[in-house]
Amino acid sequence: MVRVMVVDDHPLWREGVARDLTEAGLDVVATAANGVDAINRVLATRPEVLLLDLNIPAPDGVEVTATLTQRGLDTKVLVLSASGEQQDVLDAVKAGASGYLVKSASREALLDAVQAVARGESVFTPGLAGLVLGEYRRLSEAPPTDEPDAPRLTERETEVLRLVAKGLTYKQIAERLVLSHRTVQNHVQNTLRKLQLHNRVELVRYAIERGLDE
């Protein structure tokens, strides 16, 4: 049974999602309404999946994700956002979230996503794939002095990510590129992993620079 925690400051929504998950046979180990409680309860209950709203009382969803990544927890973060603010979603994914869904996603889509994240897969909507593609393009166009060691996508990864952004399922992508389902998944996950690694290196470098200045 997958152990899930739900974080949302909206009680109706939080309870509704928790009920859906429980009815579907998942184990909702905790819920929280703000960032502080979220971090504390994740540390206490160690869920496999954290269903996280980005817009919560401070620290916000992006900061919560960053904190959990920093602590090296196994908990996977699945972001649920009402507004789907592009920069917030991108920041959350860079900070370590495994996927993102808008809140209007159907109950089935949500349950599938939670299961997928629990299995260690990334959950990409076409919108998120477009954002990630854009981020890689931004990194590749930035002057090397601003973005040293910026990660690059391989041709195959770009191809796969573009197809995700165009709404193809992993199965359809596998068919079109004559690859296995697993390989497609690995490619997608790699694109995220490289971005997250780069983000961590950047944060450390930023911290060191700040530290030396003060």
Partner: protein
């Protein structure tokens, strides 16, 4: 000190730093001129002592003009000392030197205090300082000649120019700070607005979800809530782009595409704006609508559509895919060869007019996919393209 005052002071600081250089350069010049002619003086020893005072005072006053000491009395004392040194020329020079209008003991060094006054009190201050300095200079001469008039003229020009510039720069620095403050307030308002919108979106999404589960009339309510949720979400997403989205005739294509989102239409864009001339955006959106019209025409009952916006090198690529039956490869060329002008032909035409291209991607039976591509660097609409 508030930010506005600080911005104005930063402008002043820069001026006084430049004036320090001016003071040093004119000092070196004055020492050089006097060293070359000290034997001509009536009182050479006094001259050297006075030059020493000038050197020391230059150092002291540079220190006094630093932001933490800079007060009105510094300007007045600097003026008094400068005038005293200037007037001492009368004692050091021979009457012949004075009559010939040779350089004063201080030469151009006196200009520095005049310019300082111009920075401090604008054109009025500069002109007042010029009047004081020139009165002291002229009244020790037995006659007035063309070089005196020339000197006065140059000093009036310099003080007016510097006074005006200092004032203008201060005003623009203050305006910039005020504009930044207004922008910060606007973004704070927007942040609050987003929080409110987020709450509304949550409710709409919830109504949609529960409505569908309950069924019947509630499902209809849910569907309506879902439509509004999507409309509000795309509005917020496009406004959330952090750079200005309109730049004269340049507008953000991503923002324009966001407005195309519907329950069956997904739009994927980069987080950065993709700026293109308004006409190009208009044509592209029209072409995308045409792609979709083609889909609904050939695609039977309501296929889903996915729109992807990318920048690839110096090109903007928009992919429009649907999960309808697709167009068999070669079919388009066939139709064109037969002289039939279909929707597809018009899409290609639109893109050609933009200096770009429209291609049907071979999807191997996975629906219909268009790739529309236009150059990113094109800024002006080509003449006669319409």
């Amino acid at each position: 000190m508030d930010r506005v005052t600080r911005a104005a002071q930063q402008v002043d600081d820069q001026f006084y730093r430049v004036l320090t250089v001016l003071r040093a350069v004119t000092l070196v010049y004055a020492v050089g001129v006097n060293a070359a002619r000290w034997r001509d003086f009536e009182h050479p020893v006094a001259a050297w002592l006075l030059i020493g005072v000038m050197v020391i005072w230059s150092g002291v006053v540079t220190w006094l003009y630093e932001p933490r000491h800079r007060a009105t009395w510094v300007f007045i004392v600097d003026m008094v000392v400068t005038l005293a040194l200037l007037r001492s020329t009368q004692y050091v020079h021979t009457p012949e030197m004075l009559a010939e209008h040779t350089f004063t003991l201080t030469t151009y060094w006196v200009t520095t205090v005049v310019v300082c006054w111009a920075v401090r009190w604008g054109v009025t201050g500069g002109l007042l300082a010029t009047a004081i300095v020139q009165t002291v200079d002229v009244t020790m001469r037995p006659t007035v000649n063309s070089s005196t008039v020339g000197n006065i003229f140059l000093m009036v020009l310099a003080s007016m120019l510097v006074g005006f510039c200092a004032h203008a720069l201060r005003v623009s620095a203050v305006r910039r700070v005020e504009a930044e403050r207004a922008a910060a307030m606007a973004s704070e308002r927007e942040r609050l607005g987003r929080a409110v919108h987020d709450g509304v979106l949550q409710i709409l999404a919830l109504v949609q979800r529960r409505g569908n589960e309950i069924g019947g009339e509630a499902a209809e309510l849910g569907r309506l809530a879902g439509e509004q949720e999507l409309a509000l979400r795309s509005l917020i997403q496009s406004r959330g782009r952090d750079e200005p989205t309109t730049d004269g005739q340049m507008i953000d294509l991503g923002r324009a595409l966001d407005t195309l989102a519907e329950p069956r239409v997904s739009v994927a864009t980069p987080s950065r704006p993709v700026m293109l001339p308004a006409e190009v955006v208009e044509e592209l959106v029209a072409a995308i609508r045409a792609c979709r019209a083609n889909t609904t025409l050939h695609g039977g009952p309501e296929p889903s559509t996915w729109i992807l916006l990318e920048t690839v090198g110096d090109r903007v690529v928009v992919s429009v895919r649907d999960d309808g039956p697709g167009i068999p490869s070669g079919r388009l060329e066939e139709a064109e060869a037969e002289g039939r002008m279909g929707v597809a032909t018009s899409i290609k035409g639109r893109l050609r007019d933009l200096g770009g291209s429209a291609d049907l991607v071979d999807t191997g039976g996975q629906g219909c996919e268009w790739e529309l591509s236009v150059p990113l660097t094109r800024v002006s609409w080509p003449t006669g393209a319409r």
